[in-house]
């Protein structure tokens, strides 16, 4: 069910929500968190809602979309409530903010947060320079950004590193969980030798490749080298050198990974790029600070051969849509 409330106020929205609950029995009381999506009023609104609805099947939540419209317009709040089949296992409030109100999303948000439940803020596109100090970021226990979606990913990653606050997280980090799990499982097998050096290969502007390198550096404390592969390919390889030979996880085509290690046959493993909804569901699974991410971020400065802040070709920025942007 979709209810439109043009030119409205938050108390009218709250009122409408209670009304809908009484009539339809759409219950908001069992929700475990409020997910706030902060975006511009563009195609990104619907894409993000789709991802949130998918993720809500695992984490029923209230989704509040703050879509910033034209700032030059007069102050106005347009609201839309979606429940039931139009909202997955969640209820979705789309709030379009116009005029000066666009800069005061937090004032609209406060009355619509669920009591007691944690608040998660997600910027699917451009994120504030310091998420924890953003007015909406300050209301949230957890702040999800996506450096891969930034116009200058490596610069964004740098700013995440210097401004890290407990509760920050990055979808570029979420995307590499399968890589990390496979590498960790590979080291479980004998011989249990120390890793001597590490190489991570991926596109120059790929923040996930940087984070993987940073994570390996933070865990292994050995020289970690970052190599560049052609743009757009995400991570293509991670190689851990040990005395007896290399532990190698390579993914040339972006779909199937091949794991090679001494004394074991070559193994192939599905390792496709993860869609945003999977990453979001993983993010919502834990709401406490992610110390491992923090360590990986901080170890970035110790990775060799990393481009500090590459210039990004404008062409790739335009041609990549949401699905292909999920470079890992």
């Amino acid at each position: 069910m979709i209810v439109d409330l043009p030119s409205t106020t938050t108390s009218a929205v709250n009122h409408a929500l209670i009304d809908i609950r009484e009539r339809g029995g759409a219950v908001a009381l069992g929700r475990v968190l409020t997910l706030v999506i902060v975006t511009d009023d563009s195609a990104q609104v619907e894409q993000s809602i789709d991802a949130a609805n998918e993720a809500s099947k695992e984490h029923p939540c209230r989704v509040v979309v703050l879509a910033r419209g034209l700032k030059r317009a007069g102050t106005r709040l347009d609201a839309q409530i979606r429940v039931g089949g139009d909202a997955g296992a969640s209820e979705v409030l789309v709030l379009r903010l116009y005029g000066p109100l666009a800069d005061h999303g937090d004032s609209v948000l406060v009355p619509l947060l669920l009591p007691d439940c944690p608040v998660v803020a997600w910027w699917p596109g451009a994120a504030p320079a310091v998420p924890a100090e953003d007015p909406i970021g300050r209301l949230a226990q957890r702040r999800i950004t996506d450096t891969a979606a930034a116009s200058q990913p490596i610069k964004a990653l740098e700013s995440r590193r210097t401004s890290y606050t407990a509760g920050d997280t990055d979808l570029a980090w979420t995307r590499i969980t399968p890589w990390r799990a496979l590498l960790a499982a590979a080291l479980d097998l004998p011989p249990h030798e120390d890793v001597e050096t590490v190489t991570v290969t991926g596109a120059a502007d790929n923040p996930s490749a940087d984070l993987l390198a940073g994570w390996l550096r933070s865990r292994l404390h050995v020289p970690v080298r970052r190599r560049t592969s052609p743009p757009g390919g995400g991570i293509s390889a991670a190689v851990l050198e040990r005395r007896s030979g290399k532990v190698e996880l390579v993914r040339p085509d972006g779909k199937v990974g091949t794991l090679r290690q001494p004394g074991q046959p070559e193994r192939r493993v599905p390792l496709r790029r993860r869609p945003v909804r999977d990453c979001l569901a993983e993010e919502l699974r834990r709401l406490d600070p992610d110390e491992t991410y923090q360590a990986a971020l901080q170890a970035l400065t110790e990775v060799d051969g990393r481009r500090a802040s590459p210039t990004k070709s404008p062409l790739t920025a335009q041609t990549r849509d949401v699905e292909t942007r999920t470079d890992q």
């Binding site: 069992g30 099947k57 695992e58 296992a89 479980d188 249990h192 199937v256 074991q264 046959p265």
Partner: protein, 508 residues
């Protein structure tokens, strides 16, 4: 290597899933319902979630004239029809590379030699590293011959850095004596720590949640004892009849099929003391203590009930009685409904009866644990005000509609003070997930990881039989079970049984 710690693992890194090490699963009885509807889909779902090791192998063994491709097709169809997660070609492609089939019968030495060769080959080609789980999805009568074959061909033997595990399904025997015998046969070939007995109830999220509810909260533990609890009802009701399982069920009956394993495990989780930690050892220790304290209420004539369903209307469909079901001996005295009364002889539970009931063709499909509390010792209301007030209850709904219900009194709106029962509901589906893993997914992964918490051990199985055996013997001396119409909540004797204790069954 002892003392070696994987530098990439960190307990704070909670998003990193534990992937099982290199390994394979050999399933006996691949053409059965269990394999097709539960095991194979669970294996695919695990693969889809990235939890199976690269190079995982799945071997089927059955009396069919099949090649690997035919078996792969069976697995493919089973996955397509029953898997929980969406079908993805690239995941299936990797999984199917490791699918093998060995045709043969259990008493044929040659086919087990073939199986041993296939397994050795997989270690070579797929790098399963000599780690194999043997899943016996077959009738228990065939366990001895299969186990003997596994021992003969050296499949059960392992060297130090490998593992071999065996997975068995209920029934674990049909009384204490046969259970001990079965345990001996299994332990002859596989040491107890390599034996994984599947009670799929223990893989359910809601059952594991009993522990969270009791031990993670301040709210419930103080009242979880005989000072506040009046009695406990544990119900597992099915609406289906024997359809297709008559051959297995005849001679087994409801008590052996359900009470001995599922219901007594639920009782143990409800009644046990707080474990020192959640390590498998302390958890089992507490469950064993609880089961050791369980005593049957006597006399059995009055504290137990059993029945057989007769023809009737159930949920709008006309159904036949158990004695008219195909494959059942028309003279059968096998019960399709069983109820027993137990006491847990501990300080915590002194004087609190536990009523357990299960049956087929009952009112609806439901499994729940209901903790019924005593009435408030004093009510500062006139009796007319509280006529409609029942006892407070906390109900853990295991399936379907997983969650927790609390019943308590509330004022009826209006000028008069009138109190009536209302319910407060927690639903797993709304608070967490519609897509929580299936019990078999969790249990299979635990087998591959060697994580034994959710599997009952020898001692638990034997204690459960020790509790149930006197009832079975008592019933064996009686006439026929009492008939009850399909679609009702069991025979009148079940109501008489609980009424004699001054209580009534709740309608689940």
């Amino acid at each position: 290597m002892a003392g070696w710690v994987n530098p990439l693992l960190d307990s704070r890194d909670k998003r990193l899933p534990r992937i099982a090490g290199p390994c394979g699963v050999v399933i006996f009885g691949v053409t059965g319902d269990l394999s097709r509807k539960k095991l194979m889909p669970a294996i695919y779902d695990l693969a889809n979630r990235g939890l199976l090791p690269p190079g995982f192998a799945l071997v089927g063994f059955a009396r069919r004239d099949w090649a690997d491709e035919n078996f792969a097709e069976l697995v493919h169809d089973a996955v397509r029809d029953h898997a929980r997660t969406p079908f993805r070609e690239e995941v299936w492609a990797r999984l199917s590379e490791g699918v093998r089939f060995v045709p043969g019968s259990f008493d044929d030495d040659a086919s087990f030699d073939d199986l041993a060769a296939v397994v050795a080959d997989l270690d070579e080609q797929r790098g399963t590293g000599g780690n194999h789980a043997f899943y016996l999805a077959i009738p228990p009568a065939t366990f001895p011959v299969v186990l003997k074959q596994l021992a003969r061909t050296g499949l059960a033997a392992r060297n130090s850095d490998q593992w071999r595990r065996v997975v068995i399904e209920k029934p674990f025997g049909h009384d204490l004596h046969s259970a001990c015998e079965l345990n001996e046969i299994v332990n002859d070939v596989f040491p107890e720590e390599s034996v994984f007995r599947i009670d799929h109830y223990l893989g359910k999220e809601t059952v594991q949640n009993i522990l969270a509810l009791r031990f993670a909260n301040q709210l419930y533990e103080p009242i979880w004892n005989s000072n506040y609890v009046d009695h406990v009802q544990i119900t597992m009701a099915e609406d289906i009849g024997l359809a297709g399982r008559a051959g297995y069920y005849d001679g087994i009956g409801a008590a052996r099929d359900v009470i001995q394993n599922h219901l007594l495990q639920l009782l143990a989780l409800t009644a046990m003391e707080e474990p020192l930690s959640f390590s498998p050892g302390s958890l089992r220790g507490e469950k064993i203590k609880a089961l050791s304290a369980v005593k049957l209420a006597e006399p059995l004539d009055e504290t137990t009930a059993r029945g057989q369903y007769t023809a009737g209307w159930q949920g709008g469909t006309k159904v036949v009685g158990v004695l008219e079901e195909k494959g059942i001996n028309p003279e059968s005295t096998t019960e399709t409904f069983a109820a027993i009364t137990l006491n847990v002889d501990t300080r915590r539970w002194a004087g609190v009866p536990f009523f357990l009931r299960t049956g087929k063709r009952l009112g609806r499909r439901v499994t729940e644990v209901a903790v019924i509390f005593k009435r408030a010792p004093h009510l500062p209301f006139e009796t007319t005000m509280t006529e409609e007030l029942g006892q407070n209850a906390l109900v853990i709904r295991i399936q379907p509609d997983e969650g927790v219900t609390i019943r308590f009194g509330s004022k009826v709106p209006g000028t008069a003070m009138e109190v009536r029962d209302v319910t407060m509901d927690f639903r797993y589906g709304t608070a967490f997930t519609e897509s929580s893993p299936e019990a078999y997914e969790r249990l299979l992964l635990d087998v591959l990881l060697g994580e034994p918490s959710l599997f009952p051990v020898n001692a638990e199985v034997e204690l459960s039989w020790k509790i149930l055996d006197p009832v079975l013997e008592h019933w064996a001396k009686q006439d026929r079970p009492e008939p009850y119409a399909a679609g009702t909540w069991g025979p009148p004797s079940a109501d008489r049984m609980i009424a004699a204790a001054g209580r009534t069954w709740r309608r689940p």
